[in-house]
Symmetry: C3
Subunit: 466 residues, 3 copies
Amino acid sequence: RDRERQGMAKNTNMRWRLPLVCLLWELAMIVLFGVFVRFGAEADAHWEEEKRDMNLTSDMENDFYFRYPSFQDVHVMIFVGFGFLMTFLKRYGFGAVGFNFLLAAFGIQWALLMQGWFHSFKDGKILIGVENLINADFCVGSVCIAFGAILGKTSPIQLLVMTLFQVTLFSVNEYILLNLLHVKDAGGSMTIHTFGAYFGLTVTRILYRPNLEQSKDKQGSVYHSDLFAMIGTLYLWMYWPSFNSAISDHGDAQHRSAINTYCSLAACVLTTMAFSSMLQKKGKLDMVHIQNATLAGGVAVGTSAEMMLTPYGSLIVGSISGIVSTLGYVYFTPFLESRLHIQDTCGIHNLHAMPGLIGGIVGAITAAAATEDVYGKEGFIKAFDFTGVYQTRTPSMQGSFQAAGIVVSLLMAFAGGAIVGGILKLPIWGDAAAENCFEDGIYWEVPEDEESDVYHMHNPDKPASP
Amino acid sequence: RDRERQGMAKNTNMRWRLPLVCLLWELAMIVLFGVFVRFGAEADAHWEEEKRDMNLTSDMENDFYFRYPSFQDVHVMIFVGFGFLMTFLKRYGFGAVGFNFLLAAFGIQWALLMQGWFHSFKDGKILIGVENLINADFCVGSVCIAFGAILGKTSPIQLLVMTLFQVTLFSVNEYILLNLLHVKDAGGSMTIHTFGAYFGLTVTRILYRPNLEQSKDKQGSVYHSDLFAMIGTLYLWMYWPSFNSAISDHGDAQHRSAINTYCSLAACVLTTMAFSSMLQKKGKLDMVHIQNATLAGGVAVGTSAEMMLTPYGSLIVGSISGIVSTLGYVYFTPFLESRLHIQDTCGIHNLHAMPGLIGGIVGAITAAAATEDVYGKEGFIKAFDFTGVYQTRTPSMQGSFQAAGIVVSLLMAFAGGAIVGGILKLPIWGDAAAENCFEDGIYWEVPEDEESDVYHMHNPDKPASP
Amino acid sequence: RDRERQGMAKNTNMRWRLPLVCLLWELAMIVLFGVFVRFGAEADAHWEEEKRDMNLTSDMENDFYFRYPSFQDVHVMIFVGFGFLMTFLKRYGFGAVGFNFLLAAFGIQWALLMQGWFHSFKDGKILIGVENLINADFCVGSVCIAFGAILGKTSPIQLLVMTLFQVTLFSVNEYILLNLLHVKDAGGSMTIHTFGAYFGLTVTRILYRPNLEQSKDKQGSVYHSDLFAMIGTLYLWMYWPSFNSAISDHGDAQHRSAINTYCSLAACVLTTMAFSSMLQKKGKLDMVHIQNATLAGGVAVGTSAEMMLTPYGSLIVGSISGIVSTLGYVYFTPFLESRLHIQDTCGIHNLHAMPGLIGGIVGAITAAAATEDVYGKEGFIKAFDFTGVYQTRTPSMQGSFQAAGIVVSLLMAFAGGAIVGGILKLPIWGDAAAENCFEDGIYWEVPEDEESDVYHMHNPDKPASP
């Protein structure tokens, strides 16, 4: 039959293609790192001299101690958080964790370079420190988000290609926002979530598979795969305060960021549970909502958490985003698929796109509403970096620039996603046929795990598996 | 039959009740936060001025850097630790992780308010910082403990109602202990564990279900659910040094607390393994003991860890608590159920109640035994806050007050548990019939996961699940 | 038949032996801690005086704040990282996590003593602080590595006996390297990985089981056990920067160590994926490689991470180690088993032994290549501790001593492993017969978990399990 022929026609053998891409790109990384990347002053063995020059009395003043604990939390979010969040599919756990691992490991190297050229370039060298590591993880976070939309439908090579381009575009967009528009976005509502999600949605739209219902039996979860996914959810949820505060200014800004995020996330859980139950006939809770919509509160304060959003403001934002996200899963995702042909495996539109937009808007409003009274004279200038050429900027101007940042991120996402989607559509990357989607067996050696063999080992009639 | 009628009669549909409770309470939180909660000086944008006023030379002096890493560890313990520890049941993993998530997310908000009114209230506002977040997590920890006793037998609304009351009572009890009795309890042997466990045990006594053997087939574990539970166990075990040191004084007290807890927990593992093997005919180890009793060492030094308990003292306390806890699982839990009608799903009597009492007593003894010689003159005053009205307090007086703290915690737990148990007994909260206990399907949409479908996908005769 | 008789003859009942060993050894720990172990100055209540004497102006100068976050990461690596990494076997998850827990909990106590006598002994007392906790975890890490070689084939008593001896030998070896040879090895390429792996390989050689194919059906993984193992992998991978930087000098050295390790690990993932795909006919990825070889990059920069290896140097080392490790799994492990009779359950030869050697060699080269130009005059002296009797040491001398450190570690591992293997071969420790290897049921109460009961609960003909 047609379907079978199509299936047959697809060559998913990665044997030479994947190694070639991995090895060539790693070689490129080595060369580029060799030419460009060096230790920043705080990681260089000349630190003792630096300390003297800067009049620092203690090693504690090294940025490492301000940011390393948050870095490790962010690191866990990227690799365990995103990785395990996506293991909810019954037969795509290896792909979820494994491909996330692969693309993130490549992405952080490329991001160190790209972001380095834009932000840490000095005398022909990129000087890196712990903040660069955090930013590289952040950048890759946006790729992990986009991965969520195409999960199960793409080959590892496609993911690597997407990573290469998305990291590049991310860095350009980030540069426009942070440097040209002088926008604040420490937790990345715009740069990471809005950009990453709409980029991924555009890609998956371009890669639309009309026959995807052929693998519908594999699109659900099983009991234990839902528990694995909860590991991802909880680590994202717990460490999100670190995510939003990781690159904020030392002192009060990091402190405030963590508190706002903590509050927003707590509120988000309650409204998510409420709407998950309310929208089901029998009032039962849906694991998909608990695994995802509970996190929207972290996304939605990504821009404003380091500002004086206040704890109750955070509760409001968190509550709203939980509601919006859960409604999205129930009503919006089916609509996107049937009407707009956007097949969004993990529902990133609900978890990242809409809450990301909320985050950008809340950030713009919070910035526009800032006053010297609330921030203190010095605090006001410090919070928004109103120094140098920006010392005449007013809160309302800042709010407008923040809003412009949302628009730029959206445009970059749509344009970039369209181009990259087009590239990924080329028939050379080894993606699977529709009926083989969401199936680890295509790209992984999967244990022939008749669990029955294990659990019924006493059964003498059954031959043991090899 | 009778049983069926009873089952039928129970209305477990959460559709309007759960959303109503969640949304109304979240609304209340927003209003109360709006009226009361503001950033403390170290999280406020006025920090630059504060720094000048306090003559602080570095942002590092912000309490955020002293406590945030410990906070994150505690956060993991509450959400992943307690959540996954309770996934050992074969069919209650969603409820264990999910309801723990729900009650803790609500509880931390309410705790920020309750504890704020008692401890951080200034000029009509509650001023919060990272220490408040830790304390809120601590407070919720006591609810997670109580949850362990009623796991699988209660509706999510009952859990939210219990959380509301328990957080309130916890805060009152904590105020009496810390402020009125001037008791030391940084790791919460009394305030968290003794109070939380006896509260939960009283509640489960009141909610006694005579027909619970009807769901006996679901009260056990399966192979992989035991591994999920070990995730919870290990995170509790590993991060317990952070738990006991999180709110200790800066410097030596935090340092000492972590060391004592590390030692106590290490010893506890060995005695638990020893008794687990010894008490089984064939000498086989029991996962229930390993999952739980290994943690008793953390509970049992909760009060004394920040004192000069010394490493060998910690080993002794840890060793004893492991033995007591394991014996409890083997002999005490069956006794409690059959004789006292206390159905303690997770065995919190063994993991939190008895070790909590040990912890309170060890704390009283360690305090009573304190001398200026051991602590140093300044260290002695600092360790016990013997300043102001307390400067005449002697170690033996302190020991007595510590002992009084145990008694107060017990009384509060029994009285509070009885009242709250009575409230939870009302037939309006949607709890399940006895034969439906320990079954996620009542409150959760559970995937129809014939794993067989997954593992035998090659079988052409079997129709694919939808 | 013969095989059955052999099986029958083995007495694996732990009832009195395991408790006896655990309790006696814990008692010994208590006595030895009582005699020797006290708090170091930074954890002692006299800290206020110490601070004054040392002219420290802030509690932040307490070593606790420099190292505690890294300590917790290392702690997670030992208990969750190693524990879950070894859960890949379909029926040995309890043993993997549980025995790792047991041996590590004992090992850290004994290591505090052994390392304390060598490194923290003052006026007849061992003075401990957070750095001692890290070092104890490190020491136990080498035992966890050795455990990987004999996983599934040994009784818990054998593991405890091995731990006792290995910790002792580790400490002697470490003393020779760090104190006598004045070698740098902050991340333990030599002391932890090379020593631990070759020790374990020697032990498993001595314990060679010719009939191990009798339990071959249990030597593989099942789908979900591979996902549990990925939890271990990712936590090891993510926290490895903390591992390699945990005990480096304050400031730039810790900072640099983390960056180098981050880079090396990222590169390692790409080359591992490349070779895993390349070496399989159909180009499919093998979970065994992803779970293990991706970590080789952390091992291979263990010695040099705190040196000026540079980010691109780290990429090179990481790339090579991923290749070597993956090749090892495909070609070397079968060779070791069939020709040298080394049965290496987890493939520690590929993950720790070879990368450990690479790490030692890279360390020697990096040290030998050090110049004052690269490190700065002060940085050079500080990085290699070229003070006191070592102030005349040149980089090339240091390189030679580093190389000598590899040789010493190897000799200690072979000699020690041979002796300890001989001891473990005594027929008194209760190890299982060949056909019962890799089976939790021997030492654990395993739930009779016909998952079928759970998943087919609707089936009325099936009796419920108790």
